[in-house]
């Protein structure tokens, strides 16, 4: 069970096993394929679980039951939906730009795959540990909007185009807030590397250690990251009541499923970044010098800590989505440029001052 607490035993065993049989070049390729398959499986599993969770959470919040017929408590409902989507006919508009139309879902999925590669899941369970991890994730996670713009443009549908343009305006604005709120914590850690950021929270999570400015940054991160994933009160890009389904109006079958999956994958990635930077990633919850309590917390494997924190963040985002009404496009931009951005900049200055004076824990 040692590998459950430190995955580097497992990864090293796999690496040594492969190295004994193949040449170094082949080993690298095989390991990349292995990591790719793992992430593909993870995304498929996440899609199944999160769609079900979303439907159940929304149902209970609205005093409904949600899916109940397929399987016990409707647990097999998403599986049935997947089979339905696989069997559907992939339709393409008569005047659509076929190449871009088919490319768009893959661009979105590739952006999600690139972003998840840098997330630390547990001790030693980390596909690639860049020394500029946060910068990389911030850059890559905004690539997805290119897929949305392609989808809207190539559909030859005015509603799709309006939705795509809204998504573009939204991501350009809110990317700033996400990056700045993460930078607020980077001021404390002094490193952009995810593993260093997690290690620096061994004696307490940054949201507690950085107290007031860290909490402001966390709230801003929650708002901005919800906007960046085109979810919740910021789902102007698909705005069912105005634009039918926005940028993916013309998509059906498997390509629609890709968009759907990418939305949940992005939600997981954003929640993962938030959990890593603010809530200590896979670090267990420790309270000062309570040795017994800390030992019990250490007993829970890091991977469960990570997924627990991500689950908490995802639940918060679902709670937002099913509580707040959708913003208008001008309200959306006002919120970012007149409120979040100035507060964020002041907050960074405040954090820098605190860190300089050593007023954090």
């Amino acid at each position: 069970m040692k590998w459950l607490y430190d995955f580097s035993y497992l990864t090293r065993a796999i690496h040594e096993g492969l190295s004994a049989r193949f040449e170094p070049g082949t080993v690298v390729i095989l390991e990349m394929v292995l990591v790719g398959i793992t992430f593909m499986l993870l995304f498929a599993l996440l899609g199944l679980v999160l769609v079900y969770a979303e439907r159940k959470v929304s149902a209970v919040i609205q005093q409904r039951l949600g899916p109940m017929r397929v399987g016990k408590w409707g647990t097999a409902q998403t599986l049935a939906d997947v089979i339905k989507l696989l069997l559907k006919e992939p339709l393409i508009n008569k005047d659509a730009d076929k190449f871009l139309f088919n490319l768009a879902p893959f661009v979105i999925m590739i952006a999600a795959f690139m972003a998840i590669a840098a997330l630390p899941f547990a001790k030693g369970l980390h596909a690639i540990d860049f020394d500029i991890g946060i910068l990389y994730v911030a850059a890559v996670s905004s690539l997805g909007v290119i897929g949305i713009l392609l989808a809207g443009w190539s559909s030859n549908n005015k509603y799709s185009l309006i939705g795509a343009m809204r998504a573009g305006a939204q991501i350009i604005s809110y990317e700033l807030s996400v990056a700045l709120s993460l930078l607020t914590i980077v001021v404390l850690t002094g490193s952009l590397q995810f593993s260093t950021i997690v290690e620096s929270q061994a004696d307490g999570w940054w949201i507690f250690k950085g107290h007031i400015p860290a909490m402001i940054a966390f709230v801003i991160f929650l708002i901005a990251s919800t906007a960046e994933t085109n979810r919740g009160p910021f789902d102007l890009a698909e705005a069912e009541s105005e634009l039918t389904a926005g940028f993916h109006t013309e998509y059906s079958g498997l390509k629609f499923a890709f968009f759907f999956l990418a939305e949940f994958a992005n939600m997981f990635i954003v929640a993962g970044i938030g959990a890593t930077v603010f809530l200590g990633g896979w670090m267990p919850f420790h309270i000062g010098s309570w040795e017994g309590f800390n030992a019990v917390m250490d007993f829970i494997p890091p991977i469960f800590w990570f997924f627990g924190k991500v689950g908490f963040m995802i639940f918060l985002m679902m709670w937002f989505r099913w509580t707040f009404p959708r913003l208008r496009i001008d309200q959306l931009l006002t919120l970012e440029w007149k409120y979040l951005l100035p507060i964020n900049l002041m907050n960074i200055v405040l954090m820098a001052f605190l860190s300089l004076m050593g007023w954090h824990f």
């Binding site: 209970v60 919040i61 005093q63």
Partner: protein, 158 residues
């Protein structure tokens, strides 16, 4: 200065209203007992319909097969889509010819359950029942006669 105060005031009240909203949905999320969805065909035996649910119009009869309908046609006039048809007859009461109910015809297929006939009735003879399983294989079965065969008006109702 005023605008600066207003700026922070707006942030404060904005956050406050967001938290109020989240408290409401959070309450529902943590109280799954308040779910109102009914698992209908499964809970057919135990399903208790809500008191104010409007399923169909019924003419109340007591144990002596007597009803309160005088045949005044107020409900027929009140009905917006001609669901109710009252057919009269003339009966002798103390040597006078008096209007009385012969047949109370109710076209369920045309009824929108608006309930306007209930307050229109001067003698409270009709009520809305909360039955709802009205599916039949023949449309003519939806045209119902509400007064039981052989029933007559209660004493003292005019």
């Amino acid at each position: 200065m005023r605008s600066v105060i207003n700026y922070f005031k707006e942030i404060y009240f904005g956050l406050k209203s967001l938290i109020t909203g989240m408290r409401v949905t959070g309450h529902y999320f943590t109280h799954p007992k308040e779910i109102i969805t009914q698992q209908y065909p499964e809970n057919r035996e135990t399903l208790k319909m809500f008191e104010r649910f409007r399923g169909e119009v019924v003419l109340l009869h007591n144990e002596n097969n007597e009803h309160k309908c005088t045949g005044c046609s107020a409900c027929e006039v009140a009905c917006p889509n001609g669901t109710i048809e009252i057919i009269h007859k003339r009966v002798d009461v103390d040597g006078r010819k008096v209007k009385a109910l012969d047949t109370f015809v109710y076209h369920l297929q045309m009824c929108t359950m608006c309930g306007l006939c209930i307050p229109a009735c001067p003698t409270d003879a009709i009520v809305m029942a909360n039955t709802f399983e009205h599916a039949v294989f023949d449309r003519s079965k939806l045209t119902k006669v509400l007064n039981n065969p052989g029933s007559k008006i209660m004493d003292g109702i005019k």
